[in-house]
């Protein structure tokens, strides 16, 4: 079976982006995991057990607990944005899984709603960034780039759902083919090609940008350490013991 140049280019791009993403994120995680925490520095009051500290980290990851204390409006935008993003990603698993599991099937409807909310949340975050003098001062190209990229990814996605409507079977064939090394031709719908390219850019950008906050938060010592210095002696790996 012969493939068009377009298919070859997009297939290579997909693998390239996937490798950069996986390799990059794994590298980050390994560096974080390898770097020691010499001292006990949880921001207190902190849980006194490791299990409690795990719950604390999860409450940050799932509910953005500290941000809630910090700024309710940013929290609202952040939570809506991240949860919408997650649901949209889960909805997209249908391109990778065959047959589609029931739990993912049940997420398709809410996934579409999340897809509509996502660009609205991005616009809200952009608006906040550009209207408060303090966030204007701290924002840079990278901050606008990430938001804009995601806005266009969401926009092109919604265009395909509600306006363009390319043939979904072709898209699934192409993506599923990439995932299973059972290649098929890339759909030629231009909106799809833009959407797909932007997602690949996001993947490759992820490990080398502030987007590593996603794996990074799990390694934040002020959040993941238990407050138990009296009960268990914490040892600094690179400092000799005093006698």
């Amino acid at each position: 079976m012969e493939f068009s140049l377009l298919t070859i280019i997009f297939s290579l791009m997909a693998y390239g982006a996937a490798v950069v993403f996986v390799f990059g994120v794994l590298c980050r995680i390994m560096v974080y995991a390898k770097t020691p925490s010499p001292l006990k520095i949880p921001t207190t009051p902190a849980p006194t057990t490791t299990f409690g500290a795990m719950i604390r980290v999860l409450s940050e990851v799932l509910l953005f607990r500290s941000l809630y204390k910090g700024n309710k409006w940013t929290w609202l935008g952040g939570v809506v944005f991240h949860w919408a993003f997650l649901l949209v990603v889960l909805r997209h698993l249908r391109y990778f899984l065959y047959p589609l599991p029931a739990w993912d099937m049940s997420l398709q409807g809410i996934g579409i709603i999340a897809g509509i909310i996502l660009p609205i949340a991005v616009l809200y975050l952009l608006m906040r960034r550009t209207t408060v003098d303090r966030t204007v001062f701290i924002s840079s190209l990278a901050d606008y780039f990430a938001l804009t990229l995601i806005f266009f990814i969401a926009g092109t996605g919604l265009m395909m759902k509600f306006y363009e409507r390319p043939f979904m079977v072709d898209i699934k064939g192409f993506v599923y083919g990439l995932a299973t090394f059972n290649f098929s031709a890339v759909p030629t719908d231009p909106v799809f090609l833009v959407h797909f390219t932007l997602v690949m850019i996001l993947l490759a950008y992820f490990p080398y940008s502030k987007l590593v906050h996603a794996p990074g938060i799990f390694f934040s010592p002020t959040r993941n350490q238990a407050d138990n210095p009296r009960e268990s002696r914490h040892v600094t790996p690179w400092s000799p013991n005093l006698t």
Partner: protein, 500 residues
């Protein structure tokens, strides 16, 4: 008095978030450390010729040694949650005192030398060469951070600017750019044994004076022992407690509590300092050396318990780091936590009914409590999280009839710094200190207006020194500032019930 020289923020009782005023605090700089102190501490006396390479190399070393620094350099998304949380931003309006902007001073250099994007794209990836100008910015703004961790509380990733400030100061020290006040203090603590540089006999004579003073006031021979081998308790307290006002009043309080409990105790002339400025400048070895004197004192005096006086950052080092730095404390009685805060000790005695307290002795006061940052956000008292808020308040309630808390957004873990911690209790930056204390003063003003608060209780030596200094600028009496054990000292009824 030259008080008029400074622009003192107006007290309204409200903490307003100011608009940005770029470079508003750019001219405020701590004095450079004298050559002697730099040399003593193993740093070059002035900027070395190859300072840039040395600085980058030190940065690389710290990134490998501290996960906090490495992760915090990478994961900030600039959400802005911290931008209105720093007392120095609120007080000076200088945008570089917003925690994220302060950290950016280090991050832009991190990107340039340690990230692919920064090496390739340069400015486009917000990366910047380490230049003299950048280093000067570091020196200015990393000495306008008290490492109070208030920003860290609100950060969705727990990014702790204190860790970033410590790293930046350590890098600067290494290439010969040190600040006088913190480094002199560290040097004195390492070589003499306390931050004030007081030799043992000088401490003994102030203790003698205090014994006479307490005897005169109460008629009871309360002892202030030093270097007593085999005493039950070794008390490690900030050296300011030996001579500064109002610190000495708390020392009298501790002594009376020990006396009344019938527990033998001692100070150490060798380890005559709880404070540990090594932490402020991020130097692990200095921190360990200062704490090491306490280990020596334990080995020499062989106490059963280790108790710690009223000091904020010192309690952080003691509670969170001592076990790592100088532990394990195998020679101490495992029945008691090591170290134990004097407030935990007193609170325990109160709960057991071992102290007789006459609240009316403090009837002149309407007391409020200032949570010190390192106690609030970097340590604990008691067995459950938040004990560091409850225990001092419980002691205050047991010693006086009128207590009122300040606004909930300014106390407990959300407490505002005094504006002089982290090695910033220096005279030359008094203008910064006056502005930095503004949020706290607004909160105090509010409870003054609403409840007539007139006694500002706290448990930190630096806070005590700072507040007694800046209160007058705001039109308040320095006598309103005092320790929690000052209230205990006034209320405790001596002699009535000896022993436990």
């Amino acid at each position: 008095m030259a008080k008029v020289k400074f622009e003192v923020p107006e007290l309204t009782g409200e903490i307003a978030i100011p608009g940005l005023k770029e470079d508003a605090a750019a001219a405020v700089k701590s004095h450079n450390a004298p050559a002697k102190d730099m040399t003593d501490l193993g740093f070059p006396t002035e900027l070395v010729p190859d300072w840039k390479e040395k600085a980058v190399a030190k940065f690389a070393e710290l990134l490998k040694k501290y996960r906090s620094l490495k992760v915090f350099m990478d994961i900030c998304v600039k959400c802005g949650a911290c931008t209105d949380k720093c007392h120095f931003y609120l007080g000076t309006k200088d945008p570089r005192n917003m925690p994220v902007a302060r950290a950016e001073l280090l991050r832009k250099v991190y990107r340039r030398y340690f990230t692919t994007a920064g090496k390739v794209l340069g400015k486009l990836a917000e990366a910047e060469d380490l230049t003299r100008e950048v280093m000067e910015e570091w020196y200015t703004y990393f000495y306008q951070c008290t490492e109070c961790r208030r920003c860290s509380l609100f950060c969705p990733y727990g990014i702790d600017t204190a860790e970033i400030t410590m790293a930046a100061r350590e890098i600067m020290d290494t290439v010969g750019l040190g600040a006088k006040y913190p480094l002199q203090t560290i040097n004195k603590a390492i070589t003499i044994g306390n931050n004030l540089g007081m030799p043992g006999p000088a401490i003994r004579s102030t203790l003698d004076f205090m014994e006479e003073d307490v005897k005169e006031q109460t008629g009871v021979p309360v002892k202030f022992p030093m270097d007593v081998k085999g005493a039950d308790v070794l008390l490690i307290t900030p050296s300011a407690d030996f001579f500064a006002t109002p610190h000495v009043e708390s020392l009298a309080g501790y002594a009376k509590v020990f006396h009344q409990a019938g527990i033998s105790w001692t100070l150490s002339s060798y380890a005559s300092e709880a404070g540990n400025f090594g932490m402020f400048n991020g130097n692990y070895e200095h921190m360990r050396k200062i704490a090491g004197r306490i280990k020596v004192a334990i080995n020499e005096l062989k106490p059963k318990r280790l108790i710690h006086g009223e000091c904020g950052h010192a309690w952080r080092v003691a509670y969170s780091f001592w076990n790592t730095l100088i532990g394990p404390f195998d020679s101490l009685d495992p029945k008691y936590p090591a170290p134990q805060h004097i407030c935990e000790f007193t609170y325990d005695l109160i709960n057991r009914g071992a102290l007789k307290l006459d609240k009316t002795a403090n009837d002149d006061f309407v007391v409020t409590f200032h949570d010190s940052c390192n106690v609030a956000r970097a340590s604990r008292m008691g067995n459950s999280p938040g004990g560091q808020f409850e225990i001092p308040r419980a002691i205050i309630r047991a010693t006086c009839n009128k207590f009122v808390d300040m606004h909930p957004d300014t106390i407990r873990e959300k407490t505002f710094c005094c504006g002089a911690g982290g090695g910033l209790l220096a005279d030359e930056i008094i203008d910064l200190r006056i502005k930095g204390v503004m949020p706290r003063m607004q909160a105090y003003k509010a409870v003054k207006d609403s409840h007539g608060a007139n006694f500002f209780a706290l448990i930190c030596a630096i806070c005590k020194a700072q507040f007694t200094k800046v209160f007058p600028y705001y039109g308040y009496e320095m006598e309103e500032v005092g320790g929690v054990h000052q209230l205990v000292s006034r209320a405790i009824v001596l002699g009535g019930k000896e022993g436990i």
